[in-house]
Amino acid sequence: MMVLALALGLGIALGLLTDIAIPAALITYLGVAVLAAIDACLGGVRASLERTFDDKVFISGFITNTLMAAFIVFVGDRIGVRELYLAAVVAFGIRLFDNLGTVRRLMFSRWGW
């Protein structure tokens, strides 16, 4: 857990220090990408705790989910239904809380509480 917290802090520090920003028009893409990343990370933690973690599944899942989410945002922009990105947000959101609940329960059993 410490390693993950350290990695997260390192990433945030790196982003803040380099002060990189993207054009305002692409902010929706970034938001969906952040959600996809949170979802993938929680999924990864859960798989790790369940001892079913597989590099291939994890990396490919992260990449395809992010690309699909970006594609949905793009299509929404093109066909004039800008709210289409909500589809990705809802899907990721539900999975996120689902995974979070499982991780919580797994942690209790792992630490024997």
Partner: protein, 244 residues
Amino acid sequence: MERSIYRPALVVIVGVLGFLIAVSFNTNARLVEAVPDRASDLVGVVRDMEEQRLELEDRLADLRDEMEGLEREAAEDAGVSDTFTRELAEARALAGLTAVTGPGVELTLGDGSDVAPGVDPNDYLIHDTDISAVVNALLADGAEAVEINGERVVATTPIRCAGTTVLVNAARLGSPYVIRAIGDSESLERAVIEDPVASLLFTTYANQFGLQVGVTRLTNVEIAEYRGSLRPMFAAPVEGVSGS
């Protein structure tokens, strides 16, 4: 501490997540910064321009004084009779380039208060068209000089709507509007009260919407000179017709 159960791939992606969060934080911070900047920029531009206009008006007044002096000198030099100078002074007074005084009327037009629910709030405001109607009635009755909140009405004066204010010459005016006119005060007062359009302001609309209106006859009204520019760019005098 036992060996971490987390694989390097997961650790890397968690790092990427942190980076993405930081980037969206940066982007949002910039968006928030950018928005009020533009609005205050525009307010600043308007304020600067208005200040500039006032300065230019002052300069124009100075130059006009100077020109008057030079004209007087020139008239004396050429030995032209006093009639010419007097005619010039009269023409200036009628054109609105000098402050004038005389008997006349003072009209007040102020926005109404207490907007009743469900009623168009526009009905409670004095509009450019209301001011136009009053000024028109005054001029039709032979008013020799008219000003609105200190802005002299001359031949090229526009009266138009500019958001919540009314634009007269180049000045933005707000309620209450004080219109002063020089002429036969009794006749001017009657002209406004009996004008089919202007009279509504003082009767029906005043009662219905609580407009703050009033007409006062005065024995002595002072009306300011026109401070804007009067330089024709396109119109030229027709050849062979004597000016004055």
